[in-house]
């Protein structure tokens, strides 16, 4: 009897692993930044190049960094979702305009609407490298203490926003120990 059970259990075990493997997205690379302090940056603002956007100034509140470019198809796809999120006033949406043309980026925002509280311009892609960005759109959630809480790689959807971002944002607003 054992002769049949042992191979059967092994077979099922391998089957379960392979099944899990099939459902994973091979292009998804987990970010080593989660749970670590977000890389600091100071970059010119898209709207006013003389006005710098400094990540330090955002400390003390949860905020979202959205990496985008006008060359990026997925960014166009998620734009309406970002507008909806911005209207909810849950957190400041900070844009990181990645390796883009300033005029094109400004036109994009005036044509499609601007979901961002502020847009930082990363022409050379150095800040993007610091954040481990490899494919726009990417969206990071940063806690009030400046620690990266979550990263979403792919166009943002309301499902992802409500499931992954909203609970984490609310958790940062609940003082520890007052949940009971």
């Amino acid at each position: 009897m054992l002769k049949f059970i042992v191979p059967l259990v092994l077979f099922l075990l391998i089957g379960v692993f392979l099944l899990i493997g099939l459902q994973r997205d091979p292009s998804y690379v987990p970010s080593p930044l989660i749970g670590k302090p977000a890389p600091e940056f100071t970059l010119p603002s898209l709207q006013d190049a003389s006005y710098p956007v400094a990540s330090r100034e955002l400390l003390g509140q949860p905020w979202v960094l959205n990496v985008w470019g006008t060359w990026c198809g997925g960014c166009r796809e998620e734009h309406d979702v970002l507008l909806t999120i911005a209207r909810s006033n849950a957190v400041p949406l900070v844009g990181l305009n990645w390796k883009d043309d300033n005029a094109a980026a400004q036109r994009w925002l005036s044509d499609l609407g601007n979901p961002y509280a502020v847009v930082a311009v990363d022409h050379e892609g150095r800040v993007a490298i610091d954040w481990g960005v490899y494919g726009a759109p990417e969206t990071f959630l940063i806690g009030p203490d400046g620690v990266v809480l979550y990263k979403h790689i792919a166009p943002m959807t309301l499902e992802v926003w409500n499931k992954e971002f909203v609970p984490r944002i609310e958790a940062t607003r609940t003082p520890k120990g007052s949940e009971t």
């Binding site: 091979p26 690379v29 970010s31 080593p32 930044l33 892609g125 993007a128 481990g132 490899y134």
Partner: protein, 146 residues
């Protein structure tokens, strides 16, 4: 005929030589030692947009940006280990084409040895049982005869 074949072989080798020069149009360093380090590191780092290419092979903009980082870090006197660490901190272990052994992938590294041991134990058990059965077979009839 032989001349034609020679010509074709030469043309084919030259075509390969072009591919080997890679994506970078210009040499990054005049110093051949630094250039060699630059090329070696680039060949070990994965271009994450085009996952099955190294940053030496890819002409994606991110790969070009990462090559620029490597070039600047070499010029700034950083060691190969420091450059690799810089990339791992940002992109994780996946950026390395030659993976390191870490706590999370230890099982993967240990799997060949573990499977060999399990196999050896199973084989040993099997052989012992066969031997035991053979003993019973030979002892049986003799016991009957005496």
């Amino acid at each position: 005929m032989i001349g034609l074949i020679r010509g074709l072989v030469l043309a084919a080798s030259l075509a390969w030589a072009g591919a080997a020069l890679g994506i970078d149009a210009e040499r990054a360093f005049d110093d051949p030692a630094l250039q060699a380090r630059y090329e070696n590191i680039n060949r070990e780092l994965r271009c994450l947009v085009c996952q099955n290419q190294t940053i030496a092979d890819s002409n994606a903009t991110l790969a070009a940006d990462l090559r620029r980082e490597v070039r600047e870090m070499i010029a700034a006197g950083k060691s190969d280990a420091e450059i690799r660490e810089f990339m791992i901190q940002r992109y994780g272990d996946f950026v390395l084409y030659r993976p390191r052994m870490t706590a999370s992938n230890f099982l993967l590294w240990a799997a060949p040895v573990l499977l060999l041991v399990i196999g050896a134990l199973a084989a040993l058990r099997f052989v012992r049982r066969r031997a035991a059965e053979a003993d019973i077979d030979t002892e049986g009839p003799e016991a009957g005869r005496s």
